[in-house]
């Protein structure tokens, strides 16, 4: 059977400043390599969501000027978007997109940009721009699910291209080569943050993770991002998904589960992606 996924790229013409398009490219390619037919629809100003049945929504970051325009239009999409998330649709939002899905964003000059309250959180503009590499440890409630959804065979490719890594390898009963280092890294996400808004979450909202290096939501409470059902918000540019393939596959498996059932993903050779993940972490720790 050929699986199909419908992906919605929200406001790609306006919220496209920080290379977040890489997330869409990654979702599409990782589906394609598994013969899953992924179709991307661009939905922007004055286009309704109600006639579609999307499995995945992506909402990236933009500049303040664009964010005001998008914030107004988003109100018209609020009901459909919230319904979709309640029904298990996957949503990944980053930076400006993440902020607009909260209750409100109060800019530095006092302007209130109304959000849609998907995440019980709000953002306050600040004078400090948090611009740096960002490394987080994924929320323990999610860690196990992500590790489970990532096809175990994919790990066997790890290290095959780089002899310097092979000294660390372990062999499992099934003959797979597992790197204990990699097991540890599957619990982390790495990217680049660039925001001046500080996000504060309501008490019941789960963070996406704990900040290891960087500022995250607000630079104060060590939290980064938010999780509500299958909707995720974060400040991780980079792009995020290409160098965090475990998270990319988690989103794909959740989307398939919603449309079909729990499906085991076909393993891919992710050695280049994990090298990118590792080198980004290395540069983050030394920043």
């Amino acid at each position: 059977m050929n699986y199909k996924l419908n992906i919605c790229h929200l406001y790609p013409d306006l919220m496209d400043t920080y290379g977040d398009k890489g997330n869409i490219i990654t979702l599409v390619q990782r589906c394609k390599w598994r013969e899953i037919d992924a179709k991307v629809s661009n939905i922007s100003i004055n286009q309704s969501l109600s006639t579609f049945d999307f499995d995945v929504y992506f909402f990236g970051g933009g500049q303040d000027r664009q964010q005001v325009i998008v914030g107004k239009d988003l109100q018209k999409k609020a009901k459909d978007l919230k319904n979709a998330v309640e029904n298990g649709a996957v949503l990944l939002s980053i930076c400006g997109g993440y902020q607009l899905l909260q209750n409100y964003f109060k800019t530095l000059d006092g302007t209130m940009i109304k959000g849609i309250g998907l995440f019980d959180a709000h953002t306050i503009g600040s004078t400090t721009r948090m611009i740096q590499k960002l490394l987080i440890e994924i929320n323990p409630n999610l860690q196990k699910k992500i590790t489970e959804s990532y096809p175990p065979n994919a790990l066997s490719f790890w290290g095959s291209g780089d002899s310097r890594r092979l000294q660390n390898q372990n062999q499992t009963d099934s003959g797979q080569v597992l790197d204990p280092d990699l097991r540890a890294r599957m619990t982390e996400l790495v990217g680049f943050e660039n925001h001046s808004g500080k996000t504060y979450s309501g008490k019941d909202l789960q963070p996406l993770g704990k900040v290891l290096v960087g500022a995250g939501n607000n630079g104060e409470d060590k939290t980064e991002g938010a999780v509500y059902k299958n909707a995720f918000g974060c400040y991780l540019h980079g792009s995020l998904l290409p160098k965090n393939p475990h998270f990319a596959d988690y989103l794909i498996s959740k989307a398939l589960e919603r449309r079909y059932r729990k499906i085991k993903l076909k393993p891919l050779d992710d050695s280049i992606e994990w090298q990118a993940h590792q080198s980004a972490i290395k540069r983050t720790i030394n920043q």
Partner: protein
Amino acid sequence: MIYPWKSAIYPRKSSANDTISSVDPRLIIAIFIGKIIAFLTKLTGSGATAAPGLYALKIDPSLVKKLSNQIQHGSIIISGTNGKTTTARLTSDILSTKFNVIHNRQGSNLLRGIASTLISKSSLLGKINENLALWEVDEATLPEAIENTNPQVVVLLNLFRDQLDRYGEVDIVRNKWQKILEKLPKSTTLILNADDPGISILANNFRGKVIFFGVNDKKINLPEISHVADIRHCLACGSNLEYSTLLSAHMGHYKCPSCNFKRPSPRVTVSNLKFNRNFSTSGQFSIFNLRRKYQANDIFQFSIHYNLPGLYNVYNVLAATAVARIFKIKTSVIKKSLENFTAAFGRFQSVQIRNKSVLIFLTKNPTGTNEVLRTIATKNKINLLAILNDKIADGRDVSWIWDTNWEILKEKIKILSVSGTRAWDLATRFKYAGFNLSKKLVDEDISYSINSTVKNLHNKDTLSILTTYTALLEVQKTLSKMGSTQWHEQ
């Protein structure tokens, strides 16, 4: 008063033969210390061009103001995201035919770089013989540079997303520019890119004379590329901008359907552009008399053929021509200077390693890189080494590689290698763009990558190296060691 530093002691247009009438001990100490530091850094060979200015400005923060004010014909400032170095060098070459130009050619484009250059040309008593100053200025430094140099001419090339980790948003930079330009006196001339709506709008609320340059062609003979636009809406009223021609990113022939904002008609223009396979460019220049009001017959036209590739360099050439015309350089001299020009370090360079050629292109942001990719894509069987570093001068954020249309080269690659501190991020980008990439050809070590890639070339093959800023020096060093026979660095 806008320029409180303009005191009688430092008359703006003193004759070049004048010495400073009253001795300024602070300035003299600053120059002295600056010169000592310059001497020491030269001895240690560290090549730090900003250090003398940095320390001298700590002693006398007004050093640039004081020294700039005695330059007879004033200062020219060139800024923009892409092309400032090339434009400044083109302009310098042309103006040097008539003036004695001081120019931060080697140095940093921050205020300290300007200070270092001034110190190096100044006598111990603060006397400078050059009669015209030309400053390439970093986008974020523009307000400070304008305040300190009181320029006669300001050239703004373009504004694209670039190093967002340093500048924040493009809009923030533009707002700062707008504010400082509004303060400039009526005697200032502003040279603006007509094709970039984010630049042309800066003419609003500016009190002096504005001269626009632009490309008049409706179509160009480069491969199509998917553009990254930082502007889609009218910056005056917010409506969707309409384009009759889109040339690159958000540059082209635009107008707003709701208000009266539209591409101004440029007075320094080119048409019939042809981008040749040997990376030269030809076209037909039309320059209106900039000193008089528009008259149809008051126009200089000439054909030109110069050795710089790509659309991005067309704008650099036009901007330099506009400056030259303001300083009354003859069009025949402009043409000759442009045609004799060879590119600035790494912007576009060609070196020969025995019987193999290496072309080097500086890539640092999506729009600039897209234009380089378009230029390279005119060829087939491309041997490519792409280098991505993430140091401060490169931009610590490598997200921009995902906004760049590498896909355009996919069908045309023969050998692909990847290097730099973030080689694996770039390798991932190529993988997701659908390239066949061997992991063996990905290595963070730049020198190793260059050596192994060049070794893989056949005789008479050409390798194109695309590199971010901080890797350039290592590229240069490696190629020299390999015995490159030709290196165009002054």
